[in-house]
Each structure stands twice: as structure tokens, then as C-alpha cells.
């Protein structure tokens, strides 16, 4: 159980915990905006932790840089998505939930 | 297989039409039509030196990219493929001429008629690629090329009816090719090669091979519009533009039949059973009777002709029970194989010429009289003498009366049937001919009947009628070089080869 393995395990466990939190938030929260809130923030942190854990495990600096860039682009992407979806949802008048057929 | 003489002509047969299609994209309507016509006549001209080369050197091959079959793809031009390519070139060339004048006279809604030429040249290249290819996955790609271009051509007329029929045709085509691909996956998994000749040698009977046979046969039967799965053909062919419906029924359905023929004789010889051949024969017989009966019931001329396509394709299927021999019968002792194969080849050619001529004539009638209901056929002899002649001649060939190509095909089929003592197919063949005679003579009776006055007849360019007549006469002329063609075909496999089945055979060939 070398030091790096210990770090990897801790980071991965933390990442998984955050992912679990994000998913539960997505299921439990009452309306769209709170779900957006949960999903975007928590999942990004979860991905960041897992990415850091794996970067340590893989060890090669190039891979670590690549993983960090991937995480950075995900931050950009999901925050934009969160903003756009929220703005889209605000623009719609009373949202009639879609009743499944028959 | 790789030691045969190579020739660049084989690759040009696919490359030239695509080159012309790409060049034609750069022009507007007028220039595009001219390039398209040039391309089609060029491809027609290209087919004959290729056939001559095969006649001289026998089977000619082309190793694409210089790699040998298990890894690379092999294009093989053997006599059987040469005859199919020759027929496609002749019929396609005349249809291109017809289309050239047709689109100068009739602009379709939305100006999409300019798209006819690139799509038709891509379709032609796909058909040539399909007849040449010796590789299963490459056949899938060419089937998709032919399928997408055929549906695109079918919906060119822009009417809602043709769009719905086109969507149904496309969904059937995709489902059929996915079924075919599933069979290819199983064959590759069990033998590790995709080349038809290598596969034939390496294949071992077993549940995987039998299932691959079933799913590939069903897939190809959907695309060849064989009886139980022919629902998409009549609306698609009837709603399309005249030159397009001629292409679809004369050429496109023949491609997948050609693959079915090759797969059954060269690849699945191992796991075929006598019952499988009989089942395909039954499907063919019912198709002949049902298609002809439906054609008799239709009111619109194009629907009559479309249903008769389904019937004539049934004749092609009735060749299979003669080729798949009964258990224990050796291929050498079966003397009826040569007439059976001749029947298949001649039915393809005769039906190609006659059906194309019929659809082109129907197009002329729609131009002249505005609609193609049966009532419009009245007094056709006086109004459009040449078209009436074309319909009569093509009808004779479809029925199979003596001098025509259709007769030679049905005669050889009957000869094969009686020599192989499978007499139960004869009533279906004769019944089909009687029903076909029913609707052809019904059309001719109307053509000679006096018409009510006051039906305006719009002038039709003479060239269109000449094209229809040339094709109809062509279905008679193909009989003259019969013996040369048969000798030319008999020199190499798979012509006149039977599929020996073992007494215990594999599982039932077809569910």
C-alpha cells in the first residue's frame, strides 16, 4: 500500500461520494433549477477528484496534463449548459408537465 | 483465385460513372444533364470491352490496393457477372436517353429533376460494384449505395404518395441490409474470412451457418421484394417518375437476386437442405400467382406493371428448387442444371428489357393523357401508335409467347422442371403466364377500343416512343445470340453448378 495508492484510493472514494450526491440530488430535488444546481456543481467536483486520483495513479506528466485539460473543458461545458438550460426554462411560461400517453 | 489474369477495366466499371457523377455536381441543370448523359453513354460503352476481355481471357480479377483476398478485396468479372453488367449497360443506356428527353419536357416540382443524373450514375456504379465484388462486407456497402440512391430517385417526384412509399422502401431496405450484415458477422466470426470463394471452402455446417443462411436470405429477399416481403415495391415503383420506376424494377431488384444466387451456390452449399430450395420455390410460385392476380385487379397502369414485377421476380425464385439437388443426387448426373441456369439468366434479361419498356410506355401515356387510369388507354392505337406497339411487344415478352426472350426463359424453366421430375412447379409457371396474358390482353383490348371524343392528347416527343420501342424489341433480339451466350456462360462456375445436399443435411434451411 504505497503512498500514491493511498492517495488514489482516497481521491476516488471522495469522487464517488460526490457523484452519489449529485445523482441523489438529481432524483430528489423538487424542481428543475435545484436539480441543475446539484448536477452541475457536484458532478464537476466528483469528476475533478476522480481525474486527480487517476492522474496520480497513471503517473506520466503528459497524461496528467491531458486529464486536467479534459476536466477544465468539462467545467466550461457543464457550467455553460447549466446557464443555458436555466435561461431556457425561465423563458418558458407555465411549464405543463408532459403527461405520458393514455 | 488470385492467379487469374488481372485487368484495370474491372475497376473502371465502378470508377467511371462515379467520376462523371462528381463532375456533374458542379454544373447547373442544363450542364448537369449533358454531363450525366455523357457519363451514362460512357459507362455503356465501357461495358462491352470488359465483356470482350472476359470472352477472350475467361474470368478476370482486380486486386484492390494490391492486397490478396483474406485481407484485401477482390473484384472478379466472370461470365455470369459480365452478362448482368451487359444487361444493366444496355437497359441503363436506353433509359438514360429516355430520361434526357423526358426531363427536358417535364420539369418536376421544386426543380429536383437535376438531381436525377448524379444519383443515377452513383446507382449505376453501385450496381456494377455489386456485380463485381467478391467480398461479403463490400457487398453490404454496395447494397447500401444502391438502396439509398434508389430511394432518393424514387422520391424525386416530390409528391406525398411517393415520399411515403419511399420511406417504407427505405426502412425495408435498411432492415434487409442489417439482417444481411448480421449474417456476415456470424460468417466472419466462424471462418475468419470475408472472401466468397475462401468462405465456401472454410465453412462448416452448424447452427451458426444455418442461422446466417436464414437471416441473410431473409434480408436479401426483403430487398428483392420476394413474395412474403414484397409490400414496399408496388407503391414505390408506381409513384416514381417513369424513367426511375423503369430503373428500379428492371435493374435494382436484380442486384440483390444476383447476390442471393451467388451465396446459395458458392457459400452456403454446406448447410443447404433440399427443403430449403423447395421453400424458396414455393415462395416464388405463390409470388407468381399472387402478383399476377393483384395486377389483374389494379385500375392504374403503373400499378399493374409494378405488381407484374413482383410476379416476374417469382419466376426467378423458382429456379432455386432446381439448383438445390435432392439428397444423394450428384451434380454431374443432374442434366437439368444447364437449362435451369439459362432460364434464370434469360428471365433476368427478358424481364429487364420488357419491364423497362412497359414503364417507359406508361410514362409516355401519362405525359400524353395526363393520367394513367385504364380508361386513358382507350384508342391508344390511333393516338400513340408506337407506344401501343411497344406495350404489345413488351407484353408478349412478359407473357412468354414463342418468339420472345420471356418465352425462351419460361421454356427453359419448364424444361428444367420436367427433366428434374419436379413437375409440381409447372402449374404455377403456366398459371402465371395465363394471368399475365389476362392483364396484357385486357390492356390491348382497351387500346383497340374506340375512345370517347374530347380527350385532348398532348404531343409526346418522338424520341421517347422510340426508346420504349427499342427496349421492347430488345427483349426479342436477346434470343438470337442464345447459344453463344450459353457457351460463354458455361465456361466457368458457378453457371450450371448444382448444390449437392447430404441425406441428413443441416437443419431446415429456411423457417
Amino acid at each position: 500500500m504505497t503512498m500514491t495508492n493511498l492517495f488514489t484510493i482516497i481521491l476516488l472514494l471522495a469522487g464517488c461520494f460526490f457523484f452519489l450526491g449529485g445523482t441523489l440530488g438529481l432524483l430528489r430535488f423538487p424542481d428543475l433549477f435545484s436539480r441543475l444546481h446539484a448536477l452541475t456543481k457536484v458532478d464537476n467536483i466528483g469528476l475533478g477528484l476522480i481525474a486527480a486520483g487517476m492522474a496520480i495513479h497513471i503517473g506520466s506528466p503528459w497524461a496528467a496534463l491531458k486529464i486536467f485539460l479534459i476536466w477544465l473543458s468539462t467545467l466550461l461545458a457543464s457550467s455553460t449548459a447549466c446557464y443555458l438550460v436555466a435561461k431556457f426554462q425561465l423563458g418558458r411560461p407555465s411549464e405543463s408537465p408532459e403527461v405520458p400517453a393514455k | 483465385m488470385t492467379d487469374l489474369p488481372a485487368s484495370p477495366l474491372v475497376a473502371l466499371l465502378v470508377g467511371v460513372p462515379i467520376a462523371f457523377a462528381l463532375v456533374s455536381l458542379f454544373f447547373r441543370t442544363e450542364g448537369r444533364a449533358r454531363t450525366g448523359l455523357l457519363g451514362s453513354l460512357g459507362t455503356t460503352a465501357l461495358a462491352f470491352p470488359a465483356i470482350l476481355e472476359v470472352a477472350r481471357k475467361g474470368t478476370v480479377i482486380h486486386l484492390l490496393g494490391g492486397w490478396a483476398p483474406p485481407l484485401g478485396i477482390l473484384l472478379r468479372l466472370d461470365p455470369l457477372a459480365a452478362v448482368f453488367i451487359g444487361m444493366t449497360a444496355l437497359v441503363g443506356g436506353v433509359i438514360s436517353l429516355y430520361a434526357w428527353w423526358y426531363f427536358r419536357k417535364e420539369a418536376t416540382a421544386g426543380g429536383t429533376s437535376a438531381l436525377f443524373w448524379p444519383l443515377w450514375l452513383f446507382l449505376w456504379a453501385g450496381l456494377n460494384g455489386l456485380f463485381l465484388s467478391n467480398d461479403l462486407f463490400n457487398l453490404f456497402v454496395t447494397i447500401e449505395v444502391v438502396g439509398i440512391c434508389a430511394v432518393a430517385l424514387a422520391v424525386l417526384s416530390g409528391k406525398a404518395a411517393s415520399l411515403i412509399a419511399g420511406l417504407r422502401y427505405l426502412l425495408a431496405a435498411i432492415a434487409g441490409s442489417m439482417g444481411y450484415l448480421f449474417g456476415v458477422a456470424l460468417l466472419y466470426g466462424s471462418t475468419g474470412t470475408l472472401d466468397i470463394t475462401l468462405l465456401g471452402a472454410a465453412l462448416t455446417p452448424g447452427p451458426a451457418t444455418t442461422f446466417a443462411l436464414i437471416v441473410m436470405t431473409l434480408g436479401l429477399m426483403i430487398k428483392t421484394a420476394c413474395f412474403p416481403l414484397h409490400f414496399w415495391l408496388p407503391p414505390a415503383h408506381a409513384a416514381a417518375l417513369p424513367p426511375v420506376s423503369a430503373l428500379l424494377s428492371a435493374l435494382v431488384v436484380k442486384g440483390t437476386f444476383y447476390i442471393l444466387l451467388r451465396l446459395w451456390t458458392e457459400v452456403f452449399g454446406v448447410s443447404l437442405t433440399f427443403a430449403a430450395g423447395q421453400l424458396i420455390g414455393v415462395a416464388g410460385a405463390v409470388a407468381v400467382l399472387w402478383g399476377s392476380w393483384q395486377a389483374l385487379m389494379q385500375d392504374r397502369l403503373k400499378l399493374i406493371v409494378a405488381h407484374s414485377s413482383v410476379a416476374q421476380l417469382g419466376y426467378l425464385l423458382m429456379v432455386f428448387p432446381l439448383i438445390v439437388l435432392a439428397p444423394g443426387v450428384a451434380a454431374e448426373s443432374a442434366n437439368w442444371l444447364s437449362p435451369a441456369w439459362t432460364a434464370a439468366v434469360y428471365q433476368v434479361m427478358a424481364h429487364g428489357f420488357a419491364k423497362a419498356s412497359f414503364f417507359l410506355s406508361a410514362g409516355i401515356i401519362v405525359i400524353a393523357l395526363g393520367h394513367d387510369r385504364k380508361s386513358s388507354l382507350r384508342d391508344l392505337v390511333a393516338r400513340l401508335p408506337m407506344t401501343a406497339m411497344a406495350i404489345a411487344v413488351a407484353g408478349v415478352s412478359l407473357i412468354g409467347l414463342p418468339p420472345s426472350g420471356g418465352f425462351f426463359a419460361k421454356w427453359m424453366l419448364l424444361k428444367g422442371i420436367f427433366m428434374s421430375e419436379q413437375w409440381w412447379w409447372a402449374p404455377a409457371v403456366l398459371g402465371g403466364s395465363f394471368l399475365t396474358a389476362g392483364y396484357v390482353f385486357m390492356i390491348l383490348r382497351l387500346a383497340f377500343a374506340p375512345a370517347e371524343a374530347g380527350q385532348p392528347v398532348r404531343p409526346v416527343p418522338k424520341a421517347l416512343q422510340v426508346c420504349a420501342l427499342v427496349l421492347a424489341i430488345g427483349s426479342f433480339l436477346i434470343v438470337l445470340p442464345a447459344d453463344h451466350i450459353i457457351q460463354f456462360l458455361e465456361s466457368t462456375a458457378p453457371f450450371a453448378t448444382g448444390v449437392e445436399t447430404y441425406p441428413e443435411g443441416g437443419r431446415h434451411g429456411n423457417d
Binding site: L26, G46, H57, A81, F88 | -
Partner: protein, 90 residues
Amino acid sequence: MNGFFIGVCLFLLLNICLGLLRVWRGPTVADRLLTTQLFGTTGMAILIVLAGYLGELTLLNVAITFNVLAVLLVICFVQVWKPGKKGGKA
């Protein structure tokens, strides 16, 4: 150590299955779009773990594609379903 990575992958996959419920229950189309976001991010996490576990660093390119995919879907959804156009119901 390897068993641990497999465990993490399994956990993330179960996460995706949980997310499915939102696709099923989600009242509005926007909710369903959210689950595509969730799948995208969780999928990338699984890919990164697999990359480390299998030693296949090329899986990171697949992660980049997942990221592009999520962005493309959201922007297309927002631009096409703009409320400005005829209010299409969800």
C-alpha cells in the same frame, strides 16, 4: 488495487442506472436533457478510470468526444427549442 478500480467503475455505472429514473419520470424535456449531462460526465469518469486501470491512455480521446457530445446536444437543444419560436410544448 485492480479490484478497487473495478468497484469504482461498477459504482459509476450504477450511478447512471439511478440517473435513468429521471429520464423516466422527468416532467419536462429539460429534465431529460439533464440526464444526458449526467451520463456524459459520469461516462467520462468511467473512461478515465478505465484508462488508468487498462493502461490505455487513448481512452482519454474518447473522454474528449463525450465532452464535445454533451456541449453539442445542449446548445442544439437550446437554440432549436427557443421559446421565441412558436411555443412548442415539451
